[in-house]
Symmetry: C2
Subunit: 348 residues, 2 copies
DNA sequence: TAGGTTGTCTAAACCGGTTCAGTTCGGGAG
DNA sequence: CTCCCGAACTGAACCGGTTTAGACAACCTA
């Protein structure tokens, strides 16, 4: 015979007080005599009482959960190291405080919107983490209109009522390009992410600005949808150019690996004939041949701090924007000086 | 001023009936006159009434959510195509019925156990999906003791109160090995997953049994933890053998890609000097050079059907085990006949 | 000693649904 | 014309917490 879990009324009866007082005692609120509080806690503990999240949810109008809606094709997700690490980080912040993560993975913009609507309508979460910001991102207005709390991963391109927690990609991209330029590359291409995504734009801008600073060509840019297939396509296009690049900076590791495949298949030897760099260092990039020079960020930490920030927002505490340690270049084998039979550069 | 969302009492008042009757009407239960029901639905719709999930949760003792606890290191997750696709599939089953997925990613067995305990104690979910089954998996007893409903991905190695939804790996593995044997390979190795995981064991067994049937060596097996790093390590060990294998069957694509890297780095040309096959076809495997022969399953469909099965279990409907279409071999470029002129190739 | 203040506690309302016992009413059978 | 029955509906309890108004006693002050 399974004995039902005790309720707050059971505790009250057992302790000989009213259930209201038990509630006060258990929530550490003033107005309870020290001795009584102790006795109540003791009785509750002894009876194995656990608060009912549902009852608490109903009466306090909170969900004790955060939401994350990922709008990406599973194909893109499949090789991407970002979300697993990010979610693992979120978890480390939530578990200790008894909160949960409600995850939704959608594959179209309509599904994305209805996903946020459902989360809000059902009161499923107290706040959401907005990732993969886009230009004029409709989610910001939507989410605030729905009355959800939120934070953004990165700064949106318009005014936003939500705090942002960001990792500056620029130093990483700049370091990658500078690294290649320092090696002597003059025609450096960029296989960019979708231009509707802000981090894609930012990376592209950083890319272009370093090149301009150095007086190098900054027009070798191909936009992609972040998939391996599109990374391969972009690489084929670049390598087919009459004046092909000698180095390619990719916006993620998956595309870089696919690009490496294309290059090798076409008879180019990397890094002798072509240098490549990735982004958002994946585990596998370290083990391919040649190993992939890439740009890494502390994603798991990002996840943890994002969750902590959102919890503070929900609690109504002051919460300013957070700027995390910038992305860092990790030089491995896939980058080297270009073949030297090309024209030599003159030192400034 | 924002008007508060209407409650069932508001609808009742507006329609001139009791709130009990509104509840009956909205839940399509008998005992409501057709005309009245229509009027109530009309009023509710007009007022924009949405049921409060929290109130419903409290009174019906249900969560309207499913749980998934993933106990893997983010490093392993990062290149693995399984969970993103699986979760996307789950979502397609949940969204239409207004349910949600509560996801938890943990990195230790204690954290895993306490994660299930929290989900149950908080009544956060009505059931859980048990993935990555292990031998003598403690979660089966735990989860049933906690009173959660559940389904397992694959058949556990002991009696289980939960239905299983499985994809038979054997045909895929057997096809991969047969493919290699048919090409003429005689020394075929296996880079296996952790032996504590049932699917790892099953794949190893299938591997060994085909080899025995064909009278080939079945002892070239190295166990790994599924990471790229460990896949690389296993490959180095195998290639260092005096009588090295001419083909390697990997238990996932990430390790196969890492293995390819190791082989190429050691001067082996794939597939001329060494054939390799992966498992759980990832997007990127199609774009490396040489492209990866692998074994694929319809993971997204698996996710959708798993969620649907669990929903049936929760609803108390009959729910038998489900056997999905078996894994299939996808032959690409990384497998070819062994070199016939030399029995042993020496590493440069 | 009266009056006010403070601290401790109780009772009841409340969150927004579901469910059940019981009341009302109309129609068919006898 | 009754009587009975089932369909339609009401009112209230219930889920398990939180919160507020108010009761009561002890203590302090004038």
């Amino acid at each position: 015979m399974a004995k039902l879990r005790p309720t707050i009324s059971d505790v009250a009866r057992q302790a000989g007080v009213s259930k209201g007082l038990v509630s006060f005692a258990l929530n550490d609120r003033p107005g309870v005599a020290a001795g009584t509080r102790l006795r109540i806690l003791e009785v509750a503990n002894e009876m194995g009482w656990r608060p009912s999240l549902r009852a608490r949810s109903l009466s306090t109008d909170r969900a004790f959960a955060l939401g994350l809606v990922i709008a990406r094709d599973p194909d893109i997700m499949s090789g991407d190291p970002f979300f697993p690490a990010f979610i693992a980080g979120v978890e480390t912040a939530l578990a200790p405080v008894g909160q949960s993560l409600v995850l939704s993975m959608v594959q179209s913009e309509e599904a994305e919107i209805s996903s946020y609507r459902q989360l809000a309508a059902h009161g499923r979460v107290d706040g959401v983490i907005l990732s993969d910001l886009r230009r004029d991102d409709p989610r910001i207005a939507l989410v605030s209109e729905l009355g959800l709390r939120a934070i953004t991963l990165g700064h949106p391109d318009a005014a936003s009522p939500f705090p942002a927690i960001s990792v500056d990609d620029s130093p990483g991209i700049r370091a990658a390009v500078a690294h290649l330029a320092d090696l002597g590359h003059e025609r450096i291409a960029h296989v960019a992410g979708p231009s509707r995504m802000l981090h894609g734009i930012r990376r592209s801008n950083s890319f272009a600005s370093v090149l301009r600073e150095r007086g190098l060509v900054d027009t070798l840019v191909v936009e992609t949808d972040f998939t391996a297939a599109d990374g391969a396509r972009a690489t084929r296009e670049l390598l087919a150019l009459a004046d092909r690049p000698t180095a390619i900076v990719y916006s993620n590791d998956v595309m870089a690996i696919a690009g490496l495949g294309v290059a090798q298949r076409s008879g180019f030897e990397v890094p002798r004939d072509l240098s490549i760099t990735g982004f958002d260092g994946s585990d596998v990039g370290a083990h391919i041949y040649p190993s992939l020079t890439t740009v890494t960020t502390a994603v798991q930490d990002w996840g943890r701090q994002a969750a902590e920030l959102l919890l503070r927002v929900i609690a109504g505490e002051d919460s300013d924007d957070i700027e995390l340690a910038p992305a860092q270049l990790l030089v491995r084998e896939s980058s080297a000086p270009p073949e030297t039979n090309t024209t030599t550069t003159t030192a400034p």
